[in-house]
C-alpha cells in the first residue's frame, strides 16, 4: 500500500516550478484560444509567446530562497537560473524571427507556438533538477516538441530531418534510460548529488559498472549536444530546418545539455577519475577538430554553420573537462557571446530566404552571397561582423569568450588542450573567411531570379541589429557579465 504523503505546502517550495508552470500555462492558453477562433494572425501568437517568456524571465530573475523543492526533485541553483536566463533570452530572440515577411507553413498553426512553449518548459526542467528521472522527462518533453516543430516546416527535407532527428533521439533516449538504470543499480539512487556521495563513500565500488553507466549517459548527452562521433544528424537537421530554427537549435538546446553534463560529470572531474578524464578529453578534441575539417569543404552556408557550431560546442565542453570555477564561468560567457553572434548569423540567412527561389531553392550556397557588398552593403558588413566574431577576431564578442576559455584551460593545467583549441581557431578562420571573400571580394553572379533580402522586415532587422550591437560593443559589458556569471556559478558551488 502506498504511504500517504504528509508534507506541508511550505516544504514543497512550489516557487521552484513556477517558471516552468508559466511556460506550460502559456502553451495551454494558446491551445485554448485556438479552440475558439482560428482567424488570428501569427503576430498575435508571437507576441503572446513573448509575453509568457517575459513573465517566465521575471519569475526566474526574482527567484530567491531554497534551491531545493518539490520532493527534492527540483534544484534551482545558480547555474540553473543562469541557464534559464540564457534559454529564455535566446528563445525570445528566436521567436521574433517568426515575424518574417514571407509566410511560412508552420506559423499558420497556433500549435507551433504552444509546442515551442512546451519545449521551453522541458529545457527549464532539464536544467533545474539533479534527478536523472526528471532530467529525462524534461529532455523528452523538449525533444518531442522539437521533432514536431522541425517537421512543421513542411518541406521534403524538413520531414526527412525530423525523422532522422527522431530516430537518433530515440536511440539517445534509450541510452539515457539504460545508463540511469545501471547507475541506479550501483548506487540505489537517481539523484546526482546522492550518487556522488555514494561513489565517494564506497570508494567507487563496482567501478566497471559505474563506467558502463557513464559511457551510456555520455553517449546520450553526446547525441543531444551533437558531439563527435554522435554528430551525424546535425548538418542534415539544420539543413532541413528553417534558418531561424537552425540557429535556435545550435544554441538553446545545447546550453540545457551543458548544464546536465556539468552536473553529471562534476563528481568525476572532482575526484580526477582518469577514465572519465580521457573520455572527455577525447570527446573534446575530436569535437573541436573533426567538424572544423569537414566545414572547410562545405558548399552550403547553413551546413558550414552547422559544422562550425558543433566545433563551438566542443570548445564549450572543454570547460567541463577543466572543471574549475573559472572554466565554468568561461562556458557561460562563451555561450552567451555565441548566442548573440550565432542568432545574428542565422537571422541573416533567414532574411535572404525566399519562397520558391528557382535557382537556389531552400539552400544558401556561397554563390548566393557573392558580391553582396555591392547590392546591400549593410547586410554584408553585418554578416562579415558575425563571421569575424565567430572566427574569434578581437574585439568582437566571441573573441572574449574564446580568450577567457582558453585562459581558463591554461589555468586548469591543460596546456596541450589550449594549444589545440588555438590551432583549431586558426583552421576555422578559413571557412568563415570564405563567406567574407564571397561577399566582399567576388563579383556578383548576374541572375535576375535571385532575390536577396526577400524575407526582411523591421522585426527581423531589429533582431539582427540587436545581435550586431551586442557583438560589437561586447567589450563594454563583459566585465559586468562576468561578475553576474561568477555570482551565479559560485553560489551553486561549481
Amino acid at each position: 500500500m502506498i504511504q500517504p504523503i504528509s508534507i506541508s505546502f511550505d516544504q514543497l517550495n512550489i516557487l521552484t516550478i513556477m517558471p516552468m508552470a508559466v511556460a506550460i500555462f502559456g502553451a495551454l492558453t494558446i491551445l485554448v484560444i485556438d479552440l475558439f477562433t482560428n482567424k488570428l494572425h501569427k503576430s498575435f501568437f508571437v507576441m503572446l509567446t513573448i509575453l509568457f517568456l517575459m513573465i517566465d524571465l521575471g519569475v526566474v530573475l526574482t527567484y530567491t530562497g531554497n534551491p531545493r523543492g518539490f520532493f527534492d526533485l527540483m534544484l534551482v541553483d545558480g547555474i540553473s537560473l543562469l541557464s534559464q536566463i540564457i534559454i529564455l533570452v535566446g528563445s525570445g530572440l528566436f521567436i521574433l524571427l517568426a515575424l518574417s515577411q514571407s509566410r511560412f507553413h508552420e506559423y499558420r498553426y497556433p500549435e507551433y507556438f504552444a509546442l515551442f512553449l512546451f519545449m521551453i518548459a522541458g529545457f527549464q526542467f532539464m536544467v533545474s533538477s539533479d534527478s536523472l528521472i526528471l532530467i529525462f522527462v524534461g529532455l523528452e518533453t523538449a525533444s518531442m516538441s522539437i521533432y514536431t516543430i522541425i517537421a512543421m516546416h513542411n518541406r521534403t527535407k524538413s520531414i526527412e530531418a525530423a525523422i532522422k532527428y527522431f530516430t537518433i533521439g530515440a536511440l539517445a533516449t534509450a541510452f539515457f534510460a539504460f545508463g540511469s538504470m545501471i547507475l541506479y543499480g550501483v548506487t540505489g539512487t537517481v539523484e546526482l548529488g546522492r550518487m556522488a556521495e555514494v561513489f565517494v563513500s564506497t570508494d567507487f565500488a563496482n567501478y566497471p559498472y559505474i563506467l558502463l553507466g557513464v559511457v551510456f549517459i555520455a553517449s546520450a548527452l553526446g547525441f543531444k549536444l551533437s558531439l563527435v562521433p554522435f554528430h551525424i544528424w546535425t548538418p542534415d537537421v539544420y539543413e532541413g530546418s528553417s534558418a531561424a530554427l537552425a540557429g535556435f537549435l545550435s544554441i538553446v538546446p545545447k546550453i540545457a545539455g551543458f548544464v546536465v553534463v556539468l552536473r553529471f560529470f562534476e563528481v568525476f572531474v572532482l575526484v580526477e577519475d582518469m577514465f572519465v578524464h580521457y573520455l572527455l578529453y577525447g570527446l573534446v578534441v575530436v569535437t573541436i577538430t573533426v567538424p572544423n575539417m569537414i566545414a572547410l569543404v562545405q558548399t552550403d552556408i547553413k551546413r558550414m554553420l552547422a559544422y562550425s557550431s558543433i566545433s563551438h560546442a566542443g570548445f564549450a565542453l572543454s570547460a567541463v573537462l577543466v572543471g574549475t570555477t573559472q572554466a565554468t564561468n568561461g562556458l557561460f560567457l562563451y555561450w552567451i557571446m555565441f548566442l548573440f553572434t550565432n542568432i545574428g548569423a542565422f537571422a541573416i540567412l533567414w532574411v535572404h530566404r525566399r519562397k520558391k527561389d528557382k535557382k537556389y531553392g531552400d539552400g544558401h550556397p556561397f554563390e548566393k552571397f557573392a558580391g553582396l557588398i555591392k547590392t546591400s552593403p549593410v547586410a554584408a558588413s553585418i554578416m562579415g561582423l558575425f563571421m569575424l566574431s565567430l572566427a574569434g577576431v578581437p574585439p568582437f564578442s566571441l573573441f572574449w569568450g574564446k580568450m577567457y576559455l582558453i585562459g581558463a584551460t591554461i589555468s586548469g593545467g591543460e596546456l596541450v588542450l589550449a594549444v589545440i583549441m588555438a590551432l583549431n581557431s586558426g583552421i576555422a578562420v578559413y571557412y568563415y573567411l570564405k563567406l567574407i571573400v564571397y561577399m566582399f571580394l567576388k563579383d556578383k553572379v548576374e541572375d535576375s531570379e535571385v532575390v536577396l533580402m526577400g524575407n526582411a522586415n523591421t522585426t527581423l532587422k531589429a533582431v539582427i541589429g540587436i545581435s550586431a550591437i551586442a557583438t560589437t560593443i561586447s567589450v563594454l559589458f563583459i566585465d559586468r557579465l562576468l561578475e553576474l556569471i561568477n555570482y551565479y556559478v559560485t553560489t551553486s558551488g561549481f
Binding site: 569575424l388 577576431v393 578581437p394 574585439p395 573573441f399 572574449w400 580568450m403 577567457y404 582558453i406 585562459g407 591554461i410 589555468s411 596546456l415 589550449a418 594549444v419 588555438a422 590551432l423 581557431s425 586558426g426 578562420v429 578559413y430 573567411l433 567574407i436 571573400v437 566582399f440 571580394l441 567576388k442 567589450v475 563583459i478 566585465d479 562576468l482 561578475e483 561568477n486
Partner: protein, 508 residues
Amino acid sequence: MEYILTILIFFPAVAAVMGFVVDKNSIRAYGIMVVVVEFLLSMYMWSMFDISEAGMQFAVLIPIISQYGISYNIGIDGISLFLVIMTTFMTMISIIGLSEKRDIKNLILTLLFLEMTMVGVFLALDAILFYVFWELSLVPMLYIIGAWGGKLRIYASIKFFLYTFTGSLLMLVGMLFMGYIYYQYTGTWSFNILDWDMHVPYNMQLWLFLAFFAGFAIKVPMVPFHTWLPYAHGQAPTIGSAILAAVLLKMGTYGFVRFSLPLFPDAAVAFMIPMAILAVVAIIYTAMVAYAQEDIKQVIAYSSVSHMGVIILGIFAINTEGIGGGLFLMISHGVVSGALFMLVGMLYERTGTKMMSEFGGLAKTMPVFAVIFGIMLMASVGLPLTIGFVGEFLALLGFFVVSPTITILAALTIVLGAIYMLVLYKKTFFGPITKPINETLQDIKGRELFALAPLVFIVIFLGIYPKPILEPVNNSVNQLVQEMYIKAGEPITKAKIAHFNTIGGKTP
C-alpha cells in the same frame, strides 16, 4: 594633454565612421585632411615628449575586464615614439600619393581603420589590448589586398590572413599563460606588460619565447615563414604594399623588442644564435631570390625580407647599439620601402607592367623619377649619408661583439643588396629604349612629386643627422637592456648581457 595617445589611436577610426556620410567625389580630400591632422597630432605629441625620460609617457590606464586584469593601458617611450610617427607619416604620404580609381571611398575608409589599428599596436601596453589591435589590423589589409589586388588577389589575401592569424593564436596562448604565471605569483590577474616583472622559470621561458616567436616571426617575416609575403606584395595594390612594407612588418620586430626581450631575457639570450642564423639565412637567401626576380615589385618585396633579417640581427645583439640600430632601421626601411613601392606603383600606372624586361632607358624620358628612384635605391642598399646606412651599420656593429663570423656573413646584405638593386636600376633606367611605349612616358609631377619630396628630404636629412631619432631611442633601449640584466635569472645570461654591452668601454 593626458589623452593625446587615445586621440591619436581613435581619431582616424572615428573619422572613418563619419566618412561614410561624405560623398565619394570628395572622399579623397576628406581622407587627406584626416591623415594630415593625424600626422600633425603625432608631431604635437613628439613636441610634448620628454626626450630625456626613458620610461613610459602619457600613460593611461582604464580597466576593461577588471576580474581578469585586462585594461585599456597605453603609453609611449623612445622605442615606440618614432614607429608611431612613421606610421602616421607613411599613411599620410601614401594617401596623398594614392592614384587608385576603383571604389575609392571604401579604400580610404579602410585605410583610416587600418591606421587606427597600427597606431594602437605601437601604443598598447596591455598584452590583450596589443593582441586586439594586432589581429584587427589583418581585417582591413585582407580587404585591401583582396578587393583592389591583382589576379591572384583572393589567394594572396587569404594566405596572408591565415598565416598571420594562426601564428598569433599561439602568441595569444603564450600571453594567457604569462597572465596565469603572474596570477600564481601575486594572486591577482594582470595583462599589463609593465607589471609582468616576475621571474619566469628558465624552461618555461623557452616555450613562451617560442609561442611569441610564432606570432612575431610570421609577421616580420623571418625565413622560413616568409612565403606569404611575396604573394601579398605581388598582388596588393600600391598603397597596400607600401603600408604593408612600411608599417605592418615592423609590428613583428617591434613585438620582439617590446615583449620577447624584456619578458624572457634568459630565453632571448639562449636563442640569440639560432635567431641570428635565421636572420643570416634570410639576408643571404632572399637577397639571392631577389636577384632572380623579373618583377620589380617582387625584387623590392624580397629585399624587404632581407632587410628585416638585419633588423632581427640587430635586435638580438642585445646591446644598445644593436637594438637601437634595429629600431632605426625599422624607421628607415619603412620610409624607403614605402617609397620604393610607391615608385613602382607610379610606373605600373603608366605602363601597366612591372616587368624589368619591359623597361629600359627610362632615365631619358623620366629624369626626375629616375633620380628619386636612384636615391631611394641607394638608401635601400645602405649607402653612407643616406638613412639606410645608419641603422644597418649600428645593427651590424652591435652584433659584431656577439659573433664576428655571423656579422661578416650578414654584412653581405650590403654587397648583395647593391648587386640586385643596381642590376634592377641598370635594366630599368639605362640603356637604349627598347619599347616604343616607353618613349612617351610622362615624368612625375604635381601630386606624385609632392608625395615623394618629403620622403627624399627625410632620407637625406636623417642620413646626415640621425641624432633626433637615435637619442630618445637609445635612452629607452638603455633602460630596456638594464631591465633585462636585472631580470635575468641565470648567471650566464647576466654575464653575456654585460659582455655584449662593452662597446666603447662602457659598463651597463
